[in-house]
């Protein structure tokens, strides 16, 4: 290794001579600007391979040569937006019950056997519920993929869905509900969705969980776990041929029910209108601070790339102007879009931050989108995409499929680069208007009066008003 001793020697001398404490003793000179930024690398679109079995099961492979393990997901359509009215929580309970018992070669597997089989692969079985999909996820070494697909086939094609399992899962769901209502961070997304979409947004309640019967679970399972509506996704070092072979071996005999699936019930959200501007404060007695959420609806059909650039740019702006650790998302619920930003604040900071937020939000959204802004947002959107691909490519694709936006995510670099500053400006400026922005405070924000002075129109609300019980 080449060492620039001469230069370092000079600097050592300078350090000893100066003895200054105004700057740290380690001060380094002659490096007053960063090296030139290299040109951004053009990223290719993501290439997947697909096939369909005769029973309609779709097989998708994201080839990752050299990957030591293969991530596998079986994705069905039973997301929580499919909860029937009055039986909210059914999708979650039905999914959880899959891991409580199933049959293999005529023998019953109990929940412990299922858990054991997943763990043997090195990563526990995960059950994931999104608004639109329900998923089983496993990960396996290349020579264990058959075990993983076999287990998924058992759970979805031959689940026991027993009465005792329903009672166990119901009890756990009720406990989870109690926990959610006591924790501002857990409650925030549900309360915010309710605020935005009103009763069209399904929310579990004690009553709705208690109403669930085994027949509901059986019916829900039959309706949403059907081969022609399911996707088997692989991300790893395997070919489409190998993936298709695995699918045929274990899911080839997954029969399409004789009764037609019928139209998927349109979630109420598909036609819901977002609530007008409203500001609510739901007091929770923790006494340690509160969760602040602001949100605004986004026009349906706004392309995902454009949404992401707008979110990213606004996030940068608000974090610079109100320097707290904000988080932000634009959530798609069956095509209904809501842009949400949140932060956790100490009690004492709430009034001042509310006042500044109220003043700044429209200004930040109205600021012109410069070429530098556009470049920044594009770089971040592409960087995030690369990071997600590195960290959990199967999750990225599953998320895209759940939102019905797979093609956009595959073509992400091209789609993001194609967005122009005027289009981005249009979306930014149309959002965060006074008459569309909703505010939600959850937790302890101190006495209501200072917060109400900072954000006129802020009203106290109750858990019953927000959640329904």
């Amino acid at each position: 290794m080449t060492v620039d001793l001469h230069r370092r020697g000079l600097m050592l001398g300078a350090a000893i001579a100066s003895g200054s404490t105004a700057w740290p003793a380690l001060a380094q000179d002659g490096f007053d600007r960063p090296p030139e930024a290299p040109p951004l690398t053009a990223l290719p679109p993501l290439a997947i391979e697909q096939a369909r079995l005769p029973n309609g099961l779709r097989v998708i492979v994201l080839p990752m040569p050299g990957a030591p393990r293969t991530a596998i997901r079986l994705i069905g359509e039973g997301g929580w937006l499919r909860d029937p009215a009055g039986k909210e929580g059914l999708a979650e309970v039905a999914l959880s019950m899959l891991a409580q018992g199933a049959k293999r070669d005529g023998d019953e597997m109990e929940s412990a056997d299922i858990a054991y089989a997943g763990d043997l692969l090195g990563l526990p079985l995960r059950l994931a519920l999104t608004p639109s999909t329900c998923e089983l996820a496993l990960e396996a070494l290349p020579d264990q993929c058959d075990d993983a697909v076999n287990l998924m086939a058992d759970l979805t094609q031959r689940p026991l869905l027993a009465f005792e399992a329903l009672e166990h899962i119901r009890s756990r769901a009720l406990d989870a509900l109690v926990l959610r209502r006591a924790d501002a961070l857990l409650l925030a997304p549900w309360a915010a969705r309710r605020q935005c979409w009103g009763r069209a947004q399904p929310v579990q309640t004690t009553a709705s969980l208690k109403r669930l019967r085994r027949d509901d679970v059986l019916g829900f399972h039959r309706q949403y776990w059907r081969p022609e509506r399911a996707v088997l996704l692989f991300a790893g070092d395997l070919s489409l041929q190998a993936a298709r072979g695995l699918a045929e071996d274990f899911m080839g005999d997954w029969r399409v029910p004789k009764a037609p699936a019928g139209p998927t019930p349109a979630p109420a959200l598909a036609t819901a209108t977002p609530a007008a501007a409203v500001a609510q404060f739901l007091q929770l007695p923790q006494g340690q601070g509160c969760r602040l959420i602001v949100q605004t609806p986004v026009p349906r059909g706004t392309p995902p790339g454009l949404r992401e650039l707008a979110r990213t740019l606004m996030h940068q702006r608000i974090a610079a102007r109100l320097p707290w650790p904000w988080d932000s998302e634009i959530e798609s619920l069956g095509g209904a879009l809501c842009w949400r930003m949140g932060v956790t604040l100490p009690v004492a900071a709430v009034p001042e931050q509310l006042a500044r937020l109220r003043e700044q939000l429209p200004q930040l959204a109205d600021e012109p989108v410069t070429p530098e802004d556009l470049a920044l947002a594009q770089a971040l959107a592409l960087g995030d995409w690369q990071a997600q691909l590195a960290e959990a490519p199967d999750a990225l694709l599953a998320q895209a499929m759940a939102a019905g936006e797979l093609e956009a995510v595959l073509q992400w670099p091209q789609r993001v680069r194609a967005i122009s500053a005027p289009v981005l400006q249009l979306l930014m400026a149309a959002s965060w208007r006074d008459n569309r922005t909703q505010l939600l405070l959850l937790g302890d924000a101190g006495l209501p009066a200072p917060a109400q002075r900072a954000w006129p129109g802020l009203t106290l609300t109750t858990m019953r008003a927000v959640i329904g019980e």
């Binding site: 380094q28 763990d119 990213t312 974090a319």
Partner: protein, 474 residues
């Protein structure tokens, strides 16, 4: 982890650096200072955290926010981490941006802006970071585990610190602490991802090799006073990695907030000594009331040796048998079979000087804390008696092995794993050595170890019932 060896190289100014390739399109740069909550002076809990925020905030050539803009415009992410044993800054960017990140990290290391304005801003950020976890209705139980799990060690205070102990701190004391503890000769630079080895070596030497080493000790002591923390008797390791939060640029990972220290403030920055933890003389039960928590909870806490102790891989394997995966013994019995617990965890908090094994559970509806704790303890102790089959052992090893190897799959994870292993265990290659030990361990070895280290050891029991006040406040 496999070859090549993970010995860091030392630059002439004392900075250690280490690079490992990871396939992909990104690079991660991590700077780790071996200074964390344990090194905070008595009565100044959080000073390391504060200095970390100052380093991250601004420097001579980087105005506040400029670092984040530079990383964001490159499509990267950056975060800071504070732990009981270390403070770290980590950035992940597309590979072609590596040289710019190295410039920026060297600039933050060598020229941080330590002035009253940046101090005020860092104080505010620290206060927010301390308060955020307190929104959780079980935050007091987590605090009690830390505060009472350790008997005398500064790990009691946690890493985040106490804003009240820092509110009258002046900038000179901060500068002195920074000069003594955050010098380049106390840091490790880790670079992982897709890079050219020759170019990286040149850049490291160019940007980091030219950083001035710290002032000689005599110059530092002129700015300082007495010893920092009072060491005590015995041994053990500590905490798990910082709990997370993160999205987009500029997130922070943190460990739970600290308990207040009763001692009077000190601005001492004398070189930290080896700190020892006292042995718990006997089992103890504390009750606390969580008025706002919806379900009762319980925690059992055992002392664990320091992170470089040769027994650590055995602790890890035992913890995997009991607590890893969906089929770990604790979940299998207490959640699924007996339905006593709504959720539970068993974590091994390994730190430089001392550590804890913490079994924590939330009661299922209708249960109370005491029977839950009793059942939890029985299950933990049962590992010593109920035979461990080869299949069960193999499953636990598979879970551990996957968890360890997955750290090598992305530049981000590998940088974090290497930097943390160096700071906490004194060996960036510790994980590979752990795996070699697991292979040799049999079920009987684990059981014999468990009888000696856990069954016969005193345990701290924390019972948190909801609503009504219950006994000693923890």
């Amino acid at each position: 982890m496999s070859a090549p060896p993970l010995e860091p190289q030392r630059l002439p100014n004392g900075l250690l650096w280490l690079a490992r390739p990871v396939p992909g399109s990104q690079v991660a740069v991590r700077v780790v200072y071996r200074c964390g909550g344990r090194d905070d002076p008595t009565g100044r809990s959080g000073l390391s955290h504060l200095v970390l925020r100052l380093i991250a905030g601004a420097s001579r050539y980087l105005e506040p926010g400029q670092f984040h803009r530079l990383i964001a415009s490159a499509g990267g992410r950056t975060r800071i981490e504070i732990d009981e044993d270390f403070a770290a800054l980590q950035t992940v960017v597309p590979a072609p941006q590596l040289e710019r990140v190295l410039w920026a990290e060297a600039e933050r290391m060598s020229n941080p802006r330590l002035d009253p304005d940046t101090l005020a801003s860092a104080r505010q950020q620290l206060r927010q970071a301390v308060q955020e976890p307190l929104l959780n209705p079980y935050a007091r139980l987590d605090l009690a585990v830390q505060r009472h799990g350790y008997l005398t060690h500064p790990y009691q205070r946690g890493a985040l610190g106490d804003p009240e102990q820092l509110k009258d701190l002046d900038i000179d004391a901060v500068r002195a602490f920074h000069a003594a503890r955050f010098g380049c000769d106390r840091a490790l630079l880790v670079v992982t991802g897709a890079f050219d080895e020759g170019a990286l070596a040149r850049w490291v030497m160019h940007y980091f090799g030219s950083i001035r080493p710290p002032m000689p000790p005599s110059a530092v002591t002129a700015l300082t006073a007495a010893p920092a923390v009072s060491p005590t008797a015995s041994a053990t390791p500590a905490s798990g990695l910082p709990a997370s939060s993160s999205s987009g640029p500029a997130s922070v990972l943190v460990t739970p907030p600290a308990a207040a220290s009763p001692a009077s403030p000190s601005t001492s920055v004398a070189e930290p000594r080896e700190l020892r933890e006292s042995r718990r003389p006997q089992s103890q039960t504390l009750k606390l009331s969580l008025a706002q928590a919806p379900l009762p909870a319980a925690a059992l806490v055992w002392q664990v040796p320091r992170a470089d102790d040769p027994s650590l891989p055995t602790w890890q394997l035992a913890q995997a048998l009991l607590g890893l995966g969906r089929s770990g013994r604790l979940t299998d019995t207490l959640v699924d079979e007996k339905a006593l617990a709504h959720q539970l965890s068993l974590r091994l908090d390994s730190h430089r000087d001392a550590g804890l094994l913490v079994a924590q559970a939330l009661a299922a509806h209708g249960q109370t804390a005491a029977p839950l704790a009793q059942a939890l303890q029985q299950e933990v102790l049962r590992l010593a008696d109920e035979a461990i089959t080869d299949e069960e052992l193999g499953k636990a090893k598979a879970l551990l092995r996957r968890e360890t190897l997955s750290a090598e799959w992305t530049a981000d994870r590998l940088a974090r794993a290497l930097g943390t292993a160096w700071a906490v265990r004194g060996d960036a290659g510790a994980a590979a050595k752990d795996m070699a030990v697991w292979i040799k361990l049999g079920g009987a070895d684990v059981q014999q170890f468990w009888r000696r280290q856990v069954v016969q050891a005193p345990v701290l029991t924390l019972l948190a019932d909801v609503g009504a006040a219950a006994g000693v406040a923890a």
